[in-house]
Point group: D2
Chain length 331, copies 4
């Protein structure tokens, strides 16, 4: 067991806050976007992916987001509802914003992704849309850091974190940094640090922590131990620093540090891993697995996801996840 | 022959000004957008469609537009270049705008189309981007009215029209009204009237002329004859009022008026007709066909286009167009 | 008499369209703004000044403008009403815009003027605010070109000009170019040319005509005769090119050209001359003076204005104006 | 002595962050703004006022702000420099923003103040402009809450607070709430709470604390004791709740609570009191006065200020302040 104190008797396991949108995946593999002839429609966006990951594992997930009032927005809502994700926190905007949209090649690495996020629906969320009582119904609030990138979504996100703290809802921050949404790296650093100081768990990769430290950086050198020392303050109990093929390093407030490797698979696409990790990690924590075991579950889930072609549909069930680990450990 | 005076000895037949973008057509027919599983990628946008229509008929077309600097923008450029459209007037923006994108169902009518045009690349065109000498190389400048909907594209478009008039380049205005791009109907009316007064030929449907007349409307009644009287002033020689299944009514400055019916076909989708019409109409005028004959060519081309699934690829060649008319007239 | 055809039997002589605001003049003369200790409050803004000039001469002037809903806005309304200017076309905005404000030193030349025009009230005028019937009640519509500098005031202004033309109301364009309000010189050139082509009289100084010609400039050389040839087209009958201490050159559509010198005075401040000129010129035209006489009246009025410390209050009465000319001609 | 731990050996006593601008005070007293004929020019803006108050008492004050590059901006810089305020943190903007400007009547109460803050220079401050080393040179950082009202000034302010905490510089938050600068009361509440939780001292009036509590308000009732309980957390050691003519109530983290009355005077204008209070209060704290004595000094300074016609010039010297208290206590 981790030393996190997780509330019991709540109707939801995890509420995921941030974007939910449409991903259009190239139907052809290893073809440049310019030459792709058709695309398959999927639900995407980090928080939506995580909610689906949780739901497929058997947890009760909800989402706070916004889509536009059209066929694509309705599709996102329908899909999540079908996957048993609670969508009472999903707004539908009809003032000109558009559902977040990503159009992507299908390659194992260096995938070009064209993002349509000018006046993105999810970034129109404002404090007034955040329901304090809803957040108090969940054991965990998962924050996708991109929701902090611009106002009024930024304020909605910070208020949601405050409400969670007041209600004893655990806060997990998935950094999910996307430079294009921010005015400057300094602004990113400021708000990520604020959000991190109010989060029980912070998950990011090395590059993301470098951005978070922009305001304080004295040297150009990245150093995981120093990062951990810096962030295991305020509310933060656990810090997970991911390093792609090198796996993850995990630090806890009480001084633990351990590494988790990756499960090698044939990679179909370079995204989805982080969301799959976060979903399985939180699921495991909620089931009472200890921290090391939970990180391993996350790692296995990430491996399964990237070996498949899509994001949401590629999230494993609990059986698939346990079998995968069993097979790998037997090998 | 029409009474238009068309310049000779120019390296281009028609330059089309306005948006060029990507259309994603539902692969499945008669399925709601929410349930569509995949989409086929095509080039779209009225001026791009018209340029392709002209090119397939054998005319030399160019385009003045802007796309974003990514796989989708490059695709639009590649496609047009491949179709022999001159793209020296195509800008590639890397300041955050995005290539115009339309995602659509495939139904004969009431097609839902989700449009991504927040910070659209084509609307970032400004006067400074318009090359007076390039416009002087063309016999016709085709204006897609949506380019007037917001600044700085509005000013670029008005300047292009002025340059055309100075150079003796014929100006054809295709109204192409899209309410979502305009601040108010009054603004639309103002700029459409300005552009119309400097255009030799104005093509629109009844609803579009109603919007154009918003500033002057004394009665709520639409009346084609009054519309013609109002607009056959300034530079305008020819006015074509389209009425969907009822065909078109054509008016000339020197008092002609005639109707052109439609060629009944099984309709696959409700768009593309206007662009196909405009392309074949201008092609015919340039070939020296008389006005009535040119309108008939436009009408036949529109029929062919809507009987096929896409826009650009569905534009007929000259052989196809002539055969279609021959078959229909023999019937 | 000029060859302008001026409507009779209208309740207003001139409606002035554009900004009306507050001028704060340094109480001390020849002191840098940094060291000025107090300011005197006056009404300012070119169209307001012109309306006052007309009113003091005995003409019936009206204004179409907008001020903010506060003590400064109310002051502007009160002052104009007191000066007998019709203010039924004056809007009062309470959505955050502010009355145009200029804070100025009092020097004969090189006066620093600090302008507060971020979200200026007058630039919030839109087409919907322009009353066609009101414009039809006036003999002349005076356009201050700065009203063209940004949307939605730009569209309001262009619509007002259209309404004037429809109603037979004479249109006088005072170029009044202020670079800070425009996106680019090219945009200025485009809209000034549009407005000029619909105006019966165009008044500007040499630098302003240079800006107006930016889109067409082949050579860097300014040339009054070429400018006249370029602009005495469309609706334009009279062109007045001012050259400061060198006086003005006047051109007419029917080939007249004459020069008008200035009346030398001791200059107190370098502004107000143009507005005073325009007011007295229009007054004289309306009284049936011939063109040359009217320009002389304008020139004398300008001289009187700059020899006094303020703008509006310094506008001469008819007696003052006639005496001034009489004295000078006797000298 | 208060229980605040104030750093020693710093080159500056207090850096004030926020707006610095121009106040134009009606020369005539008790006249409506509409009828005022002239105005006197003064430096204004809460942080500028506080810096001047400190400087006149003998403390070394600095300012972090921004003005526009014109006669008014230069005047603000010159004045502050003359008053011995350090202005190395003062930016001068030439991208179109304007120095904050307030134009006001001179009445004892219900003064109309017209504020020009559209694109205000001070609100263009961004994180990149904040010099960590400069803040580390000061004993206290005084934050004027209006600097939090919009981006990028909001981020600059939050970063400055962080830098202060890192450097051991005491943070004093003067709430200074102005509704017109904020998107919503909820946003105000969020950011004021964040800033308060990082501030050692928070000073505001009852209405301002009501706004700060908007996100948490369960009942409509204001209650000073509950407010104190809510805010004496995080970094906050001292809370001062002002209630106009009723004086102030002061709370400390270690459980003290006391009231301070006002010194009755004939009021010339209803503003300046808070800035004068804050300046004298910080001065006294820095001199080692105890908390109760420091609040009394603030209160006396406020009384002196409102009995005079201006803000900055009306700030008392130490002699004036001590004499005033001595006289009043003798009475």
């Amino acid at each position: 067991m981790s030393n996190l104190s997780i509330p019991t008797s709540r109707s939801l396991d995890v509420i995921c806050l941030g974007r939910a949108g449409v991903d259009l995946y190239a139907s052809e593999e290893n073809v440049d976007l310019t030459n792709v002839s058709s695309f398959d429609k999927h639900v995407g966006g980090s928080p939506a992916n995580i909610a689906v990951a949780l739901s497929k594992l058997g947890a009760k997930a909800g989402i706070i987001s916004c889509v536009s009032d059209d066929g694509l927005g309705h599709y996102v809502c329908d899909y999540l509802r079908r996957l048993n994700v609670d969508i009472q926190g999903m707004l539908v905007d009809n003032k000109g914003s558009r559902t977040s949209l990503a159009i992507t090649e299908m390659k194992a690495s260096n995938c070009e992704v064209v993002i349509y996020r000018n006046n993105a629906a999810d970034l129109t969320l404002s404090i007034e849309h955040i329901d304090k009582a809803y957040i108090a119904q969940s054991k965990i609030l998962l924050i996708s850091g991109t929701a902090l990138s611009s106002s009024p979504s930024r304020e909605a996100t910070l208020a949601a974190i405050r409400y969670a703290r007041e209600a004893g809802t655990l806060v997990v921050l998935d950094v999910d940094y996307r430079a294009y949404s921010w005015r400057s790296e300094e602004d990113s650093s400021l708000y990520y640090q604020m959000a991190a100081s109010m989060s029980d768990v912070v998950i990011g990769n090395r590059e993301e922590f470098d951005v978070m430290e922009a305001l304080d950086r004295d040297s150009a050198k990245s150093d995981d131990d120093q990062t951990a020392a810096r962030y295991l303050q305020g509310a933060t109990q656990i810090l997970i620093i991911k390093a792609g093929e090198l796996g993850s390093t995990v630090y806890t407030r009480d001084g633990q540090k351990f590494a988790q490797g990756i499960y090698p698979v044939e990679v179909k696409k370079p995204f989805g891993a982080g969301d799959s990790f976060a979903g399985a990690f939180m699921y495991s924590i909620l089931q009472g697995y200890d921290l090391q075991e939970s990180v391993k579950m996350g790692s296995a889930s990430a491996a399964i996801n990237v070996s498949r072609k899509t994001c949401t549909d590629a999230m494993p069930t609990l059986d698939e996840l346990l079998s995968f680990i069993a097979v790998r450990e037997a090998a």
